[in-house]
């Protein structure tokens, strides 16, 4: 099961076809023959509400390294506190040592 999950993750990252747009194309830079510079554009109005999560397929997706989670959990909740207690030096060291083993 682990290996298939790993395969899924690899596929999620590298497997999608969307990267084919970005393939290298041989091109003579000095004398371009196509007239793409004069191409007309059709304004399609403003993009949809910016509240949407960034899509992996949007070629104009915003360039932000920060990952902003919308949901804020209540970290005074006992269950939640317990869930990361051993991630602190004040927690159980032997349990923490098991991580990543």
């Amino acid at each position: 099961a682990l290996s298939s999950r790993s395969a899924n993750l690899m596929q999620l990252v590298y497997g999608q076809a969307s990267s084919k747009l970005d393939s290298a194309v041989s091109k003579d830079d000095g004398n371009e023959t196509d007239s793409s510079d004069e191409e007309f554009f059709v304004p399609k109005g403003q993009k949809q509400a910016k509240t949407e999560l960034p899509s992996l397929d949007d070629v104009d997706a915003e360039d932000c390294s920060k990952f902003i989670k919308v949901e804020q959990r209540d970290w005074s909740n006992e269950e939640l506190i317990k869930s990361i207690r051993d991630r602190f030096v004040t927690g159980d060291w032997s349990k923490a040592a098991l991580r990543g083993k």
């Binding site: 682990l2 999950r5 790993s6 993750l9 690899m10 990252v13 590298y14 990267s19 747009l21 970005d22 393939s23 290298a24 194309v25 041989s26 091109k27 830079d29 793409s36 510079d37 191409e39 554009f41 059709v42 304004p43 399609k44 109005g45 403003q46 993009k47 960034p54 992996l56 949007d58 070629v59 104009d60 997706a61 915003e62 360039d63 932000c64 390294s65 920060k66 990952f67 902003i68 989670k69 804020q72 959990r73 970290w75 005074s76 506190i81 869930s83 990361i84 207690r85 051993d86 991630r87 602190f88 030096v89 004040t90 927690g91 060291w93 923490a96 098991l98 991580r99 990543g100 083993k101």
Partner: protein
């Protein structure tokens, strides 16, 4: 690696990484259809500003933009670096937007880079200058970059919309290559440090932020110290704002960081909302920031989610040795970074989930990118 064919890309996404990776691999790129379907097509002011910055630190390069700004041709040259440069980052994006690419480019420059950057120091969209100073720069030492030459000094702060901040960045140029990292032990959080700031508002705001953040941390760890940085007059920039940057330091020297800030909307958002929105209270901001940091700690990994992309790029630039790192859940930005790395550097990571800790380990063999610009002494 000096290829003669231009790599064709489309859209404005990952603009910074594309420019950085193109530069470091000497790959000419053509980006087309930049917001071509948008009511306001073409490059945005911050992207043009980034091109100007790139122009300032490079030589023998060419940058061609069509009239509508929807098509860019970039042929990289040599990264010069240089002393006491200056750049106005504008007010459309934070200085953090510019620092991310600048750090990478500076490492591969002919001479060490030192530059004064003006603009917005703390906002919600980009990592704060405090995050860079407290966490980002320290990441580089895991890849063999000496900390001595690295510096970020905050001369004045600037909040959106008008900015007015001013920082001074120094980046050393590396001798030849980075060194591969085996960085998978995230350790346990031993203390929390941070800095809160106010620009053109009462210093009382900071105490309220710190107090409410501490209230959350008290349940976890006693060693919490959040400095305050109250700015008035010119060193407080032109707009009102407040915020806090926090770092959890672990027993293995990992720095997990977040930042949060409150200000009035920036110039690009102002038109959409006619009224000035009510600002989040310092108490709520303190709780929000503390919660964000705990979320990052819960994720695990040797860096926080905002630094995943930079971490992977550093690994991929290393000599052809194995680098191994551990992160929490991959962010969409990090996933795109991995794809860009594969496209430009031909480096593919082996990505393995670790169900025990809900983390992910990534392994790669570096592309061996060398600093060819550096003058031989």
């Amino acid at each position: 690696m000096g290829r003669e064919k231009a790599r064709r890309l489309s859209g404005s996404r990952h603009f910074r990484q594309r420019l950085v990776l193109a530069t470091l691999t000497s790959t000419a790129i053509t980006i087309e259809d930049i917001r071509s379907g948008d009511a306001a097509p073409g490059l945005r002011p911050h992207e043009v500003s980034l091109l100007r910055l790139l122009d300032k630190i490079s030589d023998h390069h060419s940058i061609d933009l069509n009239e509508t700004g929807t098509k860019l041709r970039y042929r990289p040259g040599v990264i010069l670096g240089g002393r006491n440069l200056e750049h106005d980052c504008g007010v459309h994006r934070g200085i953090g937007y510019f620092l991310e690419p600048l750090i990478l480019l500076g490492l591969f420059a002919r001479v060490p880079l030192s530059i004064q950057l003006k603009g917005i120091t703390n906002d919600t969209k980009d990592p704060s200058v405090d995050t860079f100073r407290m966490a980002t720069l320290h990441m580089l030492k895991h890849f063999g970059v000496p900390m001595e030459g690295l510096e970020l000094k905050i001369n004045s702060r600037g909040s959106p919309p008008l900015g007015g901040g001013d920082v001074f960045l120094r980046v050393p140029n590396i001798n030849s290559t980075l060194t591969a990292a085996n960085w998978i032990d995230e350790g346990m959080v031993k203390r929390i440090r941070g800095i809160s700031f106010t620009t053109r508002v009462s210093a009382q705001m900071e105490r309220r932020i710190v107090h409410s953040a501490r209230g959350i941390f008290n349940r976890f760890i006693p060693d919490v110290h959040i400095f305050t940085d109250h700015r008035t007059g010119p060193s407080g920039g032109k707009s009102a704002g407040y915020g806090v940057s926090l770092v959890a330091e672990t027993t293995t020297g990992c720095l997990i960081s977040i930042d949060a800030a409150v200000s009035y909307p920036n110039v690009d958002e102002i038109n959409e909302e006619s009224e000035m929105p009510e600002l989040m209270s310092p108490e709520d901001l303190g709780v929000k920031a503390a919660s964000m940091l705990l979320e990052e700690v819960a994720q695990g990994g040797v860096v926080d989610s905002a630094h995943q992309g930079l971490l992977f790029i550093l690994c991929a630039l290393c000599p052809p040795d194995v680098s191994k790192v551990r992160v929490g859940q991959l962010t969409p930005y990090a996933i795109e970074t991995l794809r860009n790395i594969k496209d430009f550097l031909d480096v593919k990571f082996i990505i393995k989930p670790d169900p025990n800790s809900n983390t992910v380990t990534l392994k790669c063999v570096g592309a061996g990118v060398k600093n060819l610009a550096r003058k031989m002494s």
